[in-house]
């Protein structure tokens, strides 16, 4: 018992220290006003226009995926709607949402392919018979050669087919402008439909790329990419050499082949290296999760991937086949090679990383795009971005806050009247709960894009009110214990034991609701679940580490344990005779 009486003071000190640290973090973050939601503060609106006519179903599907991407954590409360027959409008709270454009409109078709050859390793040049006269010089495609013009390559190229391909290439570049950096979504499904046409040159002759796709479809080894890369379809090797001959990975070049998972692919990476890739072995849909992180002992961000069961098996096969060789696999996003690493060790657990030129923002952006799946449609470049104002009149916020404040003031007044001395503990607990809630809202605004809408504010006011229930349960228990004749010191602990179990069980139900809804639901419901979980945890924290020690501490004072008239624990207020015999004996 001696230990117990020494404890409440210490618990309180630790509690206030933790609170001080929380506010210290807030001070470091430097914002003392929470981010307000679309209804109170307005934000940024991004209008994406689909390429071509996507159809209602695909548009709605895209809307859903974009919704998931911007509301992934469920706390930002962004709104995503379709508009007209071919537009999606994304409204994001806050004015600095422009960096979300990439996340929002990236098609995010992720595929794992194997590298048959690239302009750096030049394997294709040695394994197959190239048309005579073509020499592959890796240096011509390195990034420092960006300024190289098509004409120079054209001189090296031989044969009519090559020139025809070059013509088609140039036309493509014209129609697509500079939108070929691969991350703009132009490699999506939208391209695949029209790809066949685009790759036919003016004479109606089959382009080398179509020839490659057709030949690969007949080639039996295509289904076995691991052996295919050692002996790629000849037509594809030809197409690859023509690709280089016709300019390779020039700046501003458009993709020449649609990103068809069943067919080989000739494409580039950001550094201008061209690759001939096998058909896809793993698809983005086989990802369980994606995230952004800095691996230990490294400085650059990577995007971490974890595959699902089937993806894990396939990746393990790739890993076994490629480990210890110079062979590469390629991670292809929207038709462009993100990175083409060699396999440095056997990876059997289905966890992989994409390294590259990432910073925190770009890594998170890519991870978010991957996590919520790829878009079924591609969008035009240069979406309309504008600032939108709040959708509620200015007086609503202050009116809502005033109303909530008055309501809570009445609650405190009532508690003081009813519980007298103990009422001060309720009031203090409510203030502490409100203080922690405010600090958490500020911290989460900063770290998780948490935004406060008017309904959200109302919800928090209500939650603080519900928090008071645990104190009421506790105080009623203490009074019950005293009614059956226990002294205050004993009653405080006996009542605590019972009230604690009651509150833990009841709060467990709330927490269960919060966790389940957060996992399963999306959008507003997810945001609600987040807020519910947060306020329930705050309730428990305040109850365990503030209210209880506070009452134990107060129980040491004569004012309370001798039952002063204003303490809320006097025999009169308990309704028992001074002798405290109680009626339950």
């Amino acid at each position: 018992m001696a230990r117990k009486t020494a404890r409440p003071g210490r618990t309180l000190v630790v509690f206030f220290l933790v609170m001080a640290i929380a506010y210290g973090l807030v001070a470091l973050a430097g914002t003392w006003k929470p981010t307000l939601g679309l209804d109170l503060q307005g934000g940024t609106s991004i209008t994406l226009r689909a390429e071509g006519d996507p159809g209602e179903e695909a548009l709605d599907q895209a809307r859903q995926i974009i919704d998931d991407r911007v509301n992934g954590s469920g706390v930002a409360e962004a709104e995503v709607t379709t508009q007209g027959g071919n537009e999606i409008v994304v409204e994001i709270p806050g004015e600095n949402a422009r960096n979300l454009i990439e996340t929002v409109q990236r098609t995010a078709q992720l595929r794992f392919r194997l590298v048959a050859c690239s302009t750096v390793d030049g394997r294709c040049a040695t394994t197959t018979g190239l048309p005579e006269g073509i020499q592959i010089d890796p240096s011509t495609t390195l990034p420092q050669d960006e300024g190289q013009d098509g004409g120079q390559d054209g001189d090296e190229s031989q044969g009519r087919n090559n020139r025809a391909a070059l013509g088609a290439w140039a036309r493509l570049s014209d129609t697509q402008g500079d939108g070929a950096d691969g991350s703009d979504g132009s490699g999506g499904q939208g391209d695949e439909n029209s790809n066949g046409n685009r790759n036919r040159n003016g004479n109606g002759q089959q382009s080398p790329y179509d020839a490659c796709v057709a030949a690969a479809a007949d080639d039996e080894t295509t289904a076995e990419p691991l052996s295919w890369i050692d002996n790629p379809t000849t037509a594809c090797v030809d197409a690859f050499s023509q690709f280089q001959a016709s300019g390779g990975c020039q700046q501003g070049a458009a993709p020449v082949m649609g990103d068809d998972p069943a067919a080989p692919l000739i494409t580039c990476d950001e550094d201008g290296i061209a690759y001939l890739l096998s058909p896809a072995m793993i698809e983005g849909t086989q990802l369980d999760d994606a995230g952004a992180a800095i691996p230990q002992q490294q400085v650059n961000y990577v995007v971490t991937l974890s595959f699902d069961g089937e993806g894990t098996e396939v990746f393990a096969d790739i890993s076994n086949a490629l480990v210890g060789t110079e062979k590469q696999f390629a991670i292809v996003l929207d038709g462009q090679v993100l990175s083409a690493p060699t396999m440095e060790g056997r990876i059997l657990d289905g966890n992989a990383q994409i390294s590259g030129d990432f910073n925190e923002t770009t890594a998170n952006s890519l991870a978010t795009s991957l996590r919520y799946g790829s878009l079924p449609i591609a969008f035009e470049d240069q979406p309309l971005v504008e600032t939108i104002g709040p959708s509620l009149a200015g007086d609503q916020l202050s009116a809502g806050l005033t109303a909530g404040g008055i309501g809570l003031a009445i609650v405190m007044l009532y508690c003081l009247l009813y519980y007298r001395g103990l009422g001060t503990v309720v009031v203090a607990s409510l203030f502490v709960a409100a203080g922690i809630t405010y600090a958490m809202v500020l911290l989460l605004s900063e770290t998780a894009n948490f935004t406060l809408t008017l309904p959200g504010i109302a919800g928090i006011i209500v939650a603080v009110g519900i928090t008071a229930d645990s104190f009421i349960v506790y105080f009623e228990r203490i009074r019950d214990e005293m009614r059956i004749g226990k002294s205050m010191k004993v009653a405080v602990e006996a009542g605590w034991k019972r009230a604690r179990n009651t509150c833990l069980a009841a709060d467990a139900v709330s927490l269960l609701a919060a966790v389940v809804l957060y996992i399963f639901a999306a959008g507003v419901v997810k945001g609600f679940a987040f807020a519910l979980g947060l306020t329930t945890i705050i309730d428990l924290v305040v109850f365990f580490w503030f209210t209880h020690p506070m009452v134990s501490w107060l129980a040491k004072y004569r004012f309370f344990n001798k039952g002063h008239r204003l303490s809320g624990l006097s025999p009169e207020t308990l309704g028992v005779a001074r002798t405290a015999t109680g009626g339950n004996a």
Partner: protein, 356 residues
């Protein structure tokens, strides 16, 4: 305060109390009527779903320099047009030179009225207005996922209550109380015609969590009392009823503490601001939390007693308690008949019946 305090003690000791369990048929009847009204309202009037669910039309009004005042003026103008589908427009400035107004799908005549109101207020010609259909931001998929989440939660909470109280009948009673609260809350929406927005959905979910929370608090006391059923020589019915009465002060206090702020928000939202997203949410919370406290006491516990009454042990306890009660009420019941003029009350050997 003195008398109220005395009441608290009497409720705790069981000296005074309301026999909720005995009046359960009346309480059930009240709730059944309320639920019937709610269901009738739902099927007859239906819910007034907001733009977020139905989609609608968006007008883009060009203005010289878009300010919040322009948006407020246009919102008021659209509201004053009295068109039903435009009773809750979403109005905001867009960029520097436009105001966008979203309303629910309108008929041609209604659209004409709204357009006229906009044109008159903004001082632009009708040709300058651009008009576009917008889809629902709350798609079917979100609703489906929310429902899946809800279903999983219900299953888990049934298991949780079962495991915690070691009593599946408590799970059933808690679920019935939950359905009771949610149906009544949704019914209120159908009757008032308040718009159902995503905020309403969060309000209803809050009710869901609160209803279960409150029921668990009451049931915790019920279990505590009924565990000691044998020693306390009470029937399950009596023990449960005592628990409800013992937690009655707490129930009243909790509902007051939770309802006061909501009431204040509801008042400001509905009366002072005259219709806003605040009122929609506050109404759901107010009705639902009141129902939540009510159902824990008046529905869940009596229902639990009814469910338990089929158990042998409970029946036996009930029989014993009844026998004791008979004995207490009429200690002479088992005494052989006496002659009519026998002066019993004058007999010094007989104690007056005890108050218990």
């Amino acid at each position: 305060m003195g008398r109220f305090a005395q009441l608290g003690n009497d409720l705790h000791s069981g000296r005074r109390g309301i026999d909720f369990v005995a009046r359960r048929l009346v309480l059930y009847a009240v709730s059944v009527v309320l639920i019937a009204i709610a269901v009738f309202g739902l099927s007859y009037k239906g819910l007034n779903l907001g733009i977020e669910f139905t989609g609608g039309t968006q007008y883009r009004v060009p203005v010289a320099a878009a300010t919040q005042d322009d948006a407020d003026a246009l919102r008021q103008a659209v509201l004053d047009s009295g068109v039903e589908g435009a009773s809750n427009p979403i109005v905001s400035t867009a960029g520097d030179d436009a105001v966008q107004i979203q309303v629910e799908p309108l008929s041609l005549e209604e659209a004409a009225i709204v357009t006229e109101a906009i044109v008159a207020t903004a001082g632009v010609s009708a040709d300058d207005l651009s008009q576009e259909d917008i889809g629902a931001s709350w798609g079917r998929q979100i609703a489906e996922r929310a429902l899946v989440g809800l279903a999983v939660f219900i299953v888990l909470v049934v298991l949780f209550i079962w495991a915690y109280f070691r009593e599946w009948k408590m799970s059933v009673a808690a679920l019935v109380a939950l359905a009771h609260d949610v149906i009544i809350t949704v019914g209120i929406y159908a009757f008032t015609g308040f718009e159902v927005t995503p905020a309403t959905v969060t309000g209803i979910l809050t009710i869901l969590a609160f209803s279960l929370y409150d029921t668990v608090v009451v049931f915790d006391k019920v279990r505590e009392n009924t565990e000691a059923m044998r020693e306390s020589r009470k029937s399950y019915r009596q023990a449960a009823n005592l628990a409800v009465n013992q937690t009655l002060v707490r129930s009243v206090n909790t509902s007051l503490v939770a309802l006061l702020p909501v009431g204040a928000i509801l008042y400001v939202g509905a009366v002072q601001l005259g219709g806003s997203s605040l009122q929609d949410l506050a109404l759901a919370l107010f009705v639902g939390m009141a129902a939540g406290t009510y159902s824990s006491v008046c529905i869940a516990t009596p229902l639990l007693v009814d469910l338990k009454n089929t158990e042998d042990e409970v029946k036996l306890a009930e029989k014993r308690a009844k026998a004791r009660q008979r004995a207490a009420a009429d200690p002479y019941a088992s005494v052989p008949n006496f002659a009519d003029d026998m002066p019993i009350h004058n007999d010094p050997g007989v104690e007056p019946p005890s108050s218990r």
